[in-house]
């Protein structure tokens, strides 16, 4: 048996709850993560201008923003271009290419990857994601999702 008072208390509770919930939706949407501008398929430098491919004739590697703004490292290894995500699969520091050892090295917890991006030492649990990379007609570095 609900008393009149019990019924009113429950009614107030239900309305307070519904009011709270109706505010919650917009707040969650407001806080929802934003997608990074995607779709760029050439390597960009920090200022957003394209990286010239011939820099790899002088330097053994170059880091820039690649597909979906992912920090991406392109190396010239045994005359061949290779591109990997530069984001260490451990905790997200950026790897460096060590040409003398033919390894990627992560400065944060000394993770190491071989020239195929495979994790060979330290804490990283997975290989570096690899991209297909080619030199475009206007001497830029084109990137494509998927294995080289």
């Amino acid at each position: 048996m609900t008393t009149r008072r019990g019924f009113l208390q429950r009614l107030v509770g239900v309305f307070a709850g519904l009011t709270g919930l109706s505010f919650l939706g917009p707040v969650v949407a407001y806080l929802a993560p934003k997608k990074e501008k995607g779709g760029r398929k050439i390597l960009l430098d920090p200022n957003g201008s394209p990286v010239k491919a011939d820099i790899l004739n002088k330097e053994p590697s170059v880091v820039g923003f690649g597909i979906n703004g992912e920090p991406t490292i392109v190396i010239k290894y045994e005359g061949e271009l290779r591109a990997f995500s530069a984001v260490c699969t451990h905790l997200g520091c950026l790897v460096k290419w060590k040409p003398a050892k033919a390894e990627f090295f992560c400065p944060c917890h000394a993770g190491r990857f071989d020239a195929n991006g495979v994790n060979i030492a330290g804490p990283p649990p997975e290989p570096l994601p690899r991209y297909r990379v080619y030199v475009t007609g206007d001497n830029l570095l084109g990137l494509e999702e998927g294995k080289a």
Partner: protein, 354 residues
């Protein structure tokens, strides 16, 4: 004239009851006469909070929470604004001492068994405050948008990603974007200057309210009903002031002579999302956690382990229910705390040199 002032005061006091409140909370509030040095840590923590609020508001006047301007604005504060360097150094250095004093406060209540019945709520709000201050320090760390800010935040937020299934999603929610960006800065800024400080204030109020409700503990081994009592003012207040001035002396010494302690070289470079500096290390109070994460082969296990320690600490009053408070009369507990402390220090030192 004197009569007039007295008259106004009587009028105000009659309506606001100020003198009654002062008597009840200061001059007629009796505390055990044998309270020791460790009982002054609480007032130091309030001092730290006040310093952070005041210097934080002053920094806020010139600080710009935008990725292309944040570093410049902080540089402007330190190099162009009169005494800006002092305000910034005080804020950064007090953040460190805040955590240090919190450690001391927690350790002293652990050793003295002050978390036991009837002070469980004080202990639990204390553990929450500890977490809040650490989160506050972590969120503030990103604001100057230096290399150190950027990469320390990248690594710290990435750690959440090792939680199975929902980890990756959580990281993106915390950052607001897949990588640390303007959206991360916006979130952390809002947390740092408003959400967390207000929450801290609320928990300090609860913490102190329950201290008054249960009364302050007498040191272990003494019977509170038998020890002599002294009024809080002036006795305890002068003890608190002694500790406060020792604290301020240490703070000033650090601010003037060892500022590099709060600002390592990577803090002087603007953030570069394409270049991770070598040897990126977290603040000293996260070094043990950082080293533990490196040592445990499965990262999620590492995080889980730290979470378990936190949960055990939180529920400690319900796990250790014996009324005995003297450290030497509960050797197992005292040994455990000491070993835990040594392990923590060892991990931190190891993390620093590895």
């Amino acid at each position: 004239m004197k009569g007039l002032i007295l008259g106004v005061w009587r009028w105000v006091d009659e309506r606001t009851q100020i003198s009654r409140v002062v008597r009840a909370t200061l001059t007629e509030y009796m505390v055990p006469a044998n309270l020791n040095f460790w009982y002054t840590m609480g007032s130091l923590l309030i001092a730290c909070f006040v310093i952070q609020i005041v210097t934080g508001i002053l920094l806020l006047i010139y600080y710009v929470p935008e990725t292309s301007k944040a570093f410049e604005s902080v540089k402007f504060i330190t190099s162009a604004v009169p005494f800006g360097w002092l305000i910034r150094r005080l804020h950064a250095m007090t953040a460190n001492l805040f955590v240090l004093v919190l450690f001391l406060h927690m350790l002293s209540t652990l050793y003295m068994g002050s978390y036991k019945k009837p002070r469980e709520i004080q202990w639990m709000t204390g553990v929450i405050l500890f977490g809040l201050v650490l989160t506050e320090a972590l969120s503030g760390y990103l604001l100057p948008w230096s290399q150190l800010s950027y990469w320390a935040t990248t690594v710290a937020t990435n750690a959440i990603g090792s939680i199975p299934k929902i980890g990756d999603m959580l990281v993106v929610w915390v950052r607001g974007t897949p990588k640390v960006s303007q959206f991360t800065l916006g979130r952390f800024f809002a947390m740092h200057v408003s959400l967390i400080p207000f929450t801290i204030l609320m928990f300090i109020a609860i913490h102190l309210l329950f201290m008054r409700l249960t009364g302050i503990s007498a040191p272990p081994g003494t019977d509170k009903s038998k020890v002599a009592k002294v009024p809080f003012f002036p006795h305890m207040v002068s003890e608190d002031l002694t500790s406060l001035f020792i604290f301020l002396a240490a703070l000033t010494l650090l601010v003037f002579f060892f500022p590099q302690f709060a600002f390592p070289p990577d803090a002087l470079e603007p953030a570069n999302p394409l270049q991770t500096p070598a040897h990126i290390k977290p603040e000293w109070y996260f070094l043990a956690n950082y080293q533990a994460l490196k040592l445990v082969p499965n990262e999620f296990l590492g995080i889980l382990l730290q979470l378990v320690v936190g949960v055990i600490l939180f529920f400690l009053p319900f796990l250790d229910r014996s009324p005995e408070r003297r450290p030497l009369k509960r050797p197992v507990f005292t040994t455990l705390v000491t070993l835990g402390l040594l392990a923590y220090i060892a991990l931190a030192v190891w993390g620093h040199y590895s």
